[in-house]
């Protein structure tokens, strides 16, 4: 049997059919010829005759090729197959688009790099901030049904404490009288000197109601929670320790439960070890003992020092709980007018309390990074638009060859999503790196700060953001490609076509929005920087330079009476002051900016006691003689304390200037008398011997409140616990020596919280620094991106107008005219953008007013400065392309296309 296949193949060769289709046709046709051949043979033809006849049949028609060409080409482009076939084409197209897109990106490495970097910065910033928000704000607290956990506060708004810590007696009444809570627990900070085995150590912990752990729904990892009977005085020498303390101090001893440990010189039995993830209320807390109110505490209604947490019954809403607590508080007001006048009760979600005041800052940052991403999108869209103009020929060709517009849009969108995916990938890497840096600036008191990481949620977020980003910035070029006028492009060079001018309009709009958005960001950052500068310029009332501080808390078990404690402090100060480099040393109850509290109500000699809710509250600090000079607190009048102010000498007090002015307006406070408690209390009258400058005791941002100082020899309620040392050396270099001095006096006395005073000040503004730093970075990023965007658009526009500029110059335009023309064009866009940004910023900065200090949300200085900065940057960004425009050679420009 002769082979006809080669003959057929030769005739089909020019058609360039797909191999599969070609083989099919060859198979069918050769079968036909073979059948014919065999038939001829059976009818008696010779092999040669039969072969020639069959071949003739094939060669007789010259219609084969043209016919096939007409039919098969169309088959190729418009597959008849419907339904099921369609899907495979979608996928096939996608694959084709992806490969094509990747080739296009690889062919333009410069463009790809710029776009990917811009997107990576935008997406990376978003992922990083989102992981913080995710961990701190979104993740539920690690307790059982955390949405039912609430904090309950006393509402003492009259005295300026809308969320005051409740007193024990109030707490117990609340607990026993309510019907809305499953259970309620109280806690109060306590710290212990842990001794035995190793250096003595100060450990922070909490006295807690026995029910706390079951209320939270957390079981100890080892041992058990407290029993109800351990919450009674006398039965409370039991302790539950944190996982960290168990590992660090007790070598993860599995048999720790039941063993005694030494706290403040007393023996406590370990009954439980909490799981590694447990922290309550903060990470500092490493042990818990039963609160076990004694009879005196249980009766206290006027001393407010507890924190109260409660679990609402299932189905009870926050409003119901609040209503019930208000009812109870009102009843207590009537029952105990002495102590409870105008004291209400407030119920707040635990989550709100834990998240605290970082929430507005985080939300502002999240908004900021979204803006940065928008700017990045605008930039990449600009790049794509410019490139789409370059690709007009390609688009025209594809349209002419029969590509559908929808198909082209899909191709363009595939390319931009591919670009965004690359950006997202690199962005994720940036986020990982950035997060490690970020963590260092996250204020340590933010809950869960240590748990911040890139998890599945962040990954999903990143993927979604990348996808949406790709669609957003891909849309403009894609629709432009779709509206592309084929005839215009084929007729003209495309440079002056309608599509080009519409592209210019879109590019202009993109620049305007970029400028507007970066303006808002810059204003936000400017306001925060301004606030921070104000904050750092606040006079705290003391001089923080070269002061070393540490906490030394004497346990009552070892230093039972005031006499012994006095001996220790005096000896400590004497020895420290002999150390080389030390100028002076002092002890005090609380150092400024470290702790709140220690306020007392006072009465003024010669005046009737005011109503209970009008009693003047004064922050009280118990100090040793040279405290003022050591802390650098200026003495304004009278004298500081001296060695002569002994326990039995006349009782004296030093007031802050605000207190003196408030108590005796227009009079000299020196020699006047005040008393702690009401006028008829047994306390001694205190003679004012000095007035010092106001100190910001609690927070730099809070105006100084009334405060007074008492000598530690005479005060018998609060105990000094902080040592401060003024030195002419680097303060921390002295720490080891001072600690050794403490141990020379008492080898079991722990020393903790070693820090320089400057450190304490800077720590106290950590939150503000965090927001300022980040928003500053993002605003800077936005500025750079916007500048790049303006530069890109101006360069492109200059390149496009080369011919026009050439003609102008040929007609006599000077370089200055061309510069003016080009920069003017850029300036017009920028000023429009600034105008929009200004309007938006006025509205948006109000959202961040809670983050501001000392500046208003519409601070004119900031607005003017930022406008100026932005316009200057924009002029600079359009200056370079403008300069290039002036170098245009008129002859070249005229000949050019």
């Amino acid at each position: 049997m002769p082979d006809f296949k080669d003959k057929i193949r030769a005739r089909l060769a020019d058609l360039k059919l797909s191999p599969a289709r070609e083989n099919e046709i060859i198979e069918e046709l050769s079968q036909h010829l073979e059948d014919q051949y065999e038939q001829l043979i059976t009818r008696g033809a010779t092999e040669d005759e039969a072969y020639q006849t069959a071949l003739l049949d094939l060669n007789q028609s010259d219609l084969l090729e043209p016919e096939l060409r007409r039919i098969e080409r169309r088959v190729h482009h418009e597959p008849l197959g419907m339904g099921a076939d369609r899907k495979s084409h979608l996928l096939g197209d996608l694959w084709q688009d992806l490969r094509y897109g990747l080739r296009m990106l690889l062919k333009n490495p410069g463009f790809t790099a710029v776009a990917v970097i811009a997107l990576a910065l935008g997406i990376g910033a978003n992922s990083a901030i989102f992981s913080v928000v995710n961990t701190v704000l979104l993740r539920p607290l690690p307790y059982k049904n955390p949405e039912r956990l609430v904090m309950v506060w006393e509402d003492n708004s009259k005295q300026g404490f809308p969320r005051d810590t409740p007193s024990p007696a109030n707490f117990m009444d609340w607990r026993d009288q309510n019907h809305v809570f499953e259970s309620a627990a109280a806690l109060v900070e306590i710290s212990f000197n842990l001794t035995g085995a190793g250096d003595p150590e100060r450990i922070d912990g909490q006295r807690v109601s026995a029910s706390l752990f079951s209320l939270l729904g957390v079981e100890p990892q080892l041992g058990r929670a407290f029993r109800a009977e351990e919450d009674q005085p006398g039965g409370n020498h039991v302790v539950i320790i944190s996982h960290g303390l168990w590992q660090r101090r007790f070598g993860s001893d599995p048999g720790i439960v039941g063993k005694p440990i030494n706290l403040n010189g007393e023996s406590f039995t370990v009954v439980g070890v909490m799981p590694r993830t447990f922290q309550f209320p903060t990470r500092r807390d490493q042990l818990w003992v039963p609160i076990a109110f004694n009879a005196k505490e249980a009766g206290e209604r006027g001393n407010h020092y507890l924190e109260v947490i409660a679990r609402m019954k299932p189905g009870v809403t926050l409003q119901q709980a609040q209503a019930e607590m208000t009812t109870i508080a009102t009843r207590l007001q009537q029952q105990y007018p002495e102590t409870n006048t105008s004291i209400g009760a407030v119920v707040t979600p635990l989550h709100e309390h834990v998240v605290g005041d970082i929430k507005p800052a985080l939300l502002v940052l999240l908004g900021a990074v979204a803006f940065v991403l928008l700017i990045a999108c605008a930039n990449v869209a600009n790049l794509l638009l410019a490139r789409a103009a370059v690709r007009q020929k390609e688009i025209a060709l594809r349209l002419a060859l029969g590509a559908g517009r929808a198909r082209l849009i899909r191709q363009f969108l595939t390319e931009s999503v591919l670009l965004a995916a690359l950006g997202g990938g690199v962005g994720l890497l940036l986020a990982v790196v950035g997060l490690n840096v970020l963590k260092r600036f996250i204020p340590p008191n933010i809950s869960q700060a240590h748990a911040i990481a890139i998890d599945a949620k962040v990954l999903i977020f990143t993927v979604l953001v990348s996808l949406v980003t790709g669609l957003i910035f891909g849309l403009a070029p894609a629709t432009q490609a779709a509206n592309f006028n084929l005839n215009d492009t084929l007729k003209e060079s495309g440079r002056d076509s309608a599509a080009g001018s519409r592209g210019n309009r879109i590019r202009g709009l993109l620049v305007i929005s970029e400028v507007a958005v970066s303006f808002i960001l810059l204003i936000g950052a400017g306001l925060l920087i301004n606030s921070f500068l104000h904050l750092r310029n606040v006079d705290p009332g003391f001089r923080a330079e070269r002061a070393l501080t540490m906490k030394i808390v004497l346990p009552e078990t070892r230093y039972a009476d005031k006499e012994q404690r006095g001996i220790f402090y005096r000896e400590l100060i004497r020895r420290v002051e002999t150390l080389p480099g030390v100028i002076s040393a002092a002890v005090a109850t609380n150092l400024p900016l470290t702790e709140t509290g220690n306020s007392v109500g006072v009465s003024i000699e010669g005046r009737a006691d005011p109503a209970p809710d009008r009693v003047p509250i004064v922050i009280t600090r118990i100090i040793s003689p040279r405290y003022f000079e050591t802390m650098g607190i200026p003495l304004l009048k009278g004298r500081a304390f001296a060695e002569e102010d002994k326990a039995e000498s006349p009782a004296v007090v030093v007031l802050s200037e605000t207190t003196a002015r408030k108590f005796w307006p227009g009079e000299d406070a020196l020699g006047k008398h005040i008393k702690i408690g009401p006028t008829n209390s047994p306390n001694r009258w205190l003679t004012v011997v000095g007035v010092v400058k106001d100190v910001r005791q609690f927070e730099l941002v809070v105006e100084p409140k009334p405060q007074m100082y008492l000598p530690f020899t005479q005060a018998n309620f609060f105990e000094p616990r902080a040592l401060v040392v003024k030195t002419n050396l680097e303060p921390l270099s002295l720490a080891a020596t001072v600690r050794k001095t403490v141990w020379e006096i008492d080898k079991d006395q722990p020393v903790s919280d070693i820090a320089s005073m400057e450190n304490i000040v800077s720590e106290s503004v950590a939150r503000q620094r965090f927001s300022m730093l980040l928003l500053g970075i993002f605003a800077g990023l936005a500025l750079v991106l916007a500048a790049v965007g303006i530069y890109g658009v101006m360069s492109y526009s200059v390149a496009q107008r080369t011919r026009e500029i050439g003609i102008r110059m040929a007609l006599g335009a000077q370089r200055a005219d061309v510069l003016k023309l080009t920069i003017g064009q850029g300036l017009k866009l920028v000023v429009t953008g600034v105008a929009f940004g200004l309007a938006a910023a006025v509205i948006m900065t109000r959202l961040m007013s809670s983050l501001l200090f000392g500046v208003s949300a519409t601070d004119p200085m900031t607005f003017v400065t930022i406008s100026f900065v932005l316009v200057s940057v924009a002029v600079l960004a359009s200056y370079i392309p403008a300069l290039r425009a002036t170098r245009v050679d008129p002859m070249f420009a005229l000949r050019y296309q």
Binding site: E28, H32, L64
Partner: protein
């Protein structure tokens, strides 16, 4: 049959009638290309002959329009062959073309008077 006559028929009539011929032949059952060619030649008593180069483009065109559908079929002991069958769309076209053809032939007959008496 004379070569010229057949040639003229080939050129003039095939244009209008070839489609009708093929559609009619696959109406009752699927057939492969060679069979279709054979049947045309056989039933026209040798007057009509399609050579390979014109038959198959025609088949492909009809298939392309969705009037017939070709499918490779393997029968025991034989090579696989492509069988063409009439589609629903093809049936309608066939009915219409038959009517046209009948009208056309009647018109020719009335004009030329060649008809059987």
């Amino acid at each position: 049959m004379s070569y010229i006559g057949s040639h003229i028929l080939d050129r003039e009539l095939k244009k209008g009638s070839a489609e009708l011929l093929i559609l009619s032949l696959v109406e009752d059952r699927p057939r492969h290309g060679y069979e279709i060619g054979q049947l045309i030649e056989l039933r026209s008593r040798g007057v009509l002959h399609f050579n390979v180069g014109s038959l198959y483009p025609l088949l492909y065109r009809l298939e392309n329009r969705g009037w017939i559908r070709g499918r490779w079929v393997e029968k025991p002991g034989q090579r696989r062959r492509r069988y063409y069958r009439l589609t629903a769309a093809g049936e309608k076209v066939l009915a219409a073309q038959r009517n046209n053809w009948r009208d056309f032939v009647q018109a020719i007959t009335r004009v030329t008077g060649v008809a059987h008496a």
